[in-house]
């Protein structure tokens, strides 16, 4: 299972990649693997203002549905329209093509509360048991 080092993670298995004041978010390899084949994704509205831990998106497999929360606070600037019909990208390439939404951060200091890759890997090891 892959957990890129340049990302920050949440205990609920979201990731965020920060470039300037923009953060791209998705679900981790662990999350996509435990969910199984993704068949449907509900994305937030562009312009929506989310607080950290607000429900932002929903990812569905055949037998499960998972809420995706905003890792940090921000305004949704873009969502991954390309997933419509290609939901399997979330399984194939969770950190690339399978991204879900992009936020303009308004409280970047919240990033400090997220997990780095080592902490997240430890968390996943815990969850695996």
């Amino acid at each position: 299972m892959q957990f890129p080092k340049d990302l920050k993670y949440t205990p609920q298995h979201e990731w965020i990649r920060v470039e300037g004041d923009l953060g791209t978010c998705g679900i981790s390899d662990f999350a996509q693997d435990s969910l199984g084949d993704v068949v449907h994704v509900e994305l937030p509205a562009v312009g929506a203002v989310l607080r950290a831990r607000d429900r932002a998106a929903e990812v569905e497999s055949v037998k499960a549905v998972s809420d995706v929360y905003a890792p940090v606070s921000g305004t949704v600037t873009e969502v991954n329209e390309g997933l419509d019909g290609s939901e399997d990208a979330v399984n194939r390439d969770p950190y690339g093509e399978g991204w879900l939404f992009r936020l303009r951060l308004f409280a970047p200091e919240e990033l400090a509360t997220l997990l780095d890759v080592a902490a997240y890997e430890a968390h996943v090891a815990e969850a695996g048991h």
Partner: protein, 458 residues
């Protein structure tokens, strides 16, 4: 214990099982499970069992205290409609493989139910001219309530108001209020206008940006056909959905389909399509919508797919909408629905075919028209509404309708349904219905009998 039907274990087998478990008696096993203080110490206060012959006698005796519609000249409607049910339907749904299966959770060994339900979904779509139908809900009334909640979900909570327009069956209206009791939707009724149909001006004044849907019944409670295209236009102008409830779907073989009249959700009572009238149930709620709203739809859905060898097969699908996965966030709490009743509807629609269904619908209307004209001509009786109707109409009576109906029942005529059942003040009105099963001779008998009571009001 001996002589208990449907429990095959012999005393010897009971002992063998107890031996495996290391208990000497069945009671000792229960002592290990149920706290002593919880055990019921006396026998259940129920009569002893009956052998089958006595049971049949007892059941038949109770049934004999009732007069079925087939033993009377019946003009009853108001939510349940008598039509001929082809004999073959009862035989086919009595097949044990259909009758005694559970919900098709294991698709490989449930292809019969699954394919039949998929065909049912398709037939309902064709009948209503809609995109997608679910595997059924409980009945027409609860279907309307579910449609109301679904509209609210589609409005994402920003449209809390549901408008129930015109003469909707009062029982369905009450069920909607029960479902709305939790307070998430605000239900508002727009009463019918003087012509018995939706008061379009009042409706226009009532809808607004907070309206989730305008729900309307057509044919309505007093049998009239509503102006669905106009009502849809009013709803859509405000960004609201149009929900149409169909009490007898035969109407859709004669009148323009709700889906072609702008409906976004169509629900219906499926009983008239091949189900016994059975004192009000089991019936089946038909439920159809547009593709865009499928993920907000309540209830089970069957989808077509392929097996690993590439052969066509069917599965329950889009299950993430449902309670067993989404739990408190589910689109509905429905689990067991009316599967076997849906099969009966599918069989009925296939047996009737397009020609048969149209002929039944035309006969319903022709006979009801014959009866309506005849009743309207009896001095003292009046049919107040003149708008287009299907097979049911309101009659004003010169005497108390409930008394009239009771009196005629003793002569083997079920003349109609008194409105006082729902509206205690409306003592001199009743609903009268004719279907393709009504014979001219029976209708003439009713008319003659009504003509005789005229003036003799009690």
């Amino acid at each position: 214990m001996e002589g208990i039907p449907y429990v095959p274990a012999t005393p010897d087998e009971v002992q063998r099982m107890l031996d495996v478990l290391g208990f000497s008696t069945v009671d000792a096993l229960f002592d290990a499970i149920v706290p002593a203080g919880d055990r019921l110490r006396q026998p259940l206060g129920l009569p002893a069992g009956l052998v089958e012959a006595d049971l049949v006698e007892a059941g038949t005796a109770l049934a004999a205290q009732c007069t079925p519609v087939t033993a009377a000249a019946s003009f009853l409607g108001a939510g349940a409609y008598r039509h001929h049910v082809p004999a073959v339907i009862r035989h086919l749904v009595s097949r044990g493989e259909y009758l005694t299966a559970y919900t098709p959770y294991q698709p490989e060994i449930s292809q019969g139910t699954l394919q039949a339900i998929w065909e049912y979904q398709s037939l309902v779509c064709d009948l209503f001219a809609m995109d997608v139908a679910n595997a059924s809900v409980y009945d027409g009334a609860s279907a309307l309530a579910e449609a109301m909640l679904m509209s609210w979900r589609i409005g994402k909570g920003k449209r809390p108001r549901v408008i129930l327009a015109g003469a909707i069956h009062p029982d369905a209206l009450e069920v909607c209020c029960t479902y709305g009791h939790a307070g998430i939707v605000r239900i508002e009724a727009v009463p019918p206008g003087p012509d018995g149909r939706v008061d379009l001006e009042a409706l226009r004044r009532s809808v607004g940006p907070d309206t989730a849907c305008v729900a309307v019944q057509s044919p309505n409670f007093v049998g009239l056909i509503e102006d669905l295209p106009e009502i849809a236009a009013i709803a859509h102008e405000a960004g609201a959905l149009q929900v149409v409830s169909v009490p007898d779907p035969h109407a859709c073989a004669l009148f323009e389909a709700p889906g072609a009249s702008g409906a976004d959700i169509v629900v219906g009572e499926g009983q008239p399509l091949g189900l016994p009238i059975s004192f009000g149930g089991p019936y089946v709620g038909l439920f159809a919508t547009r593709n865009a709203y499928v993920r907000q739809m309540p209830g089970r859905l069957v989808g077509r797919t392929r097996d690993v060898e590439g052969r066509q097969g069917f599965v329950l699908t889009l299950a993430t909408r449902e309670q067993h996965i989404r739990r408190e966030k589910a689109t509905s709490n429905i689990c067991t629905n009316q599967g076997l009743c849906a099969l009966q509807v599918a069989m009925y629609l296939a047996l009737q075919g397009p020609e048969g269904l149209r002929e039944v619908a035309e006969q319903c209307h022709a006979k009801a028209l014959y009866l309506k004209r005849a009743v309207d001509a009896i001095p003292g009786f009046r049919v107040p509404y003149k708008g287009p109707f299907f097979h049911e109409f309101l009659v004003e009576t010169p005497c108390r309708a409930a008394d009239l109906v009771e009196d005629l029942a003793e002569e083997g005529i079920f003349a109609g349904v008194p409105l006082s059942r729902w509206y205690p003040a409306r003592t001199h009105e009743m609903l009268v219905c004719a279907t393709e099963t009504s014979r001219r001779e029976e209708m003439d008998r009713l008319v003659a009998r009504l003509a005789a009571v005229q003036g003799g009001a009690r």
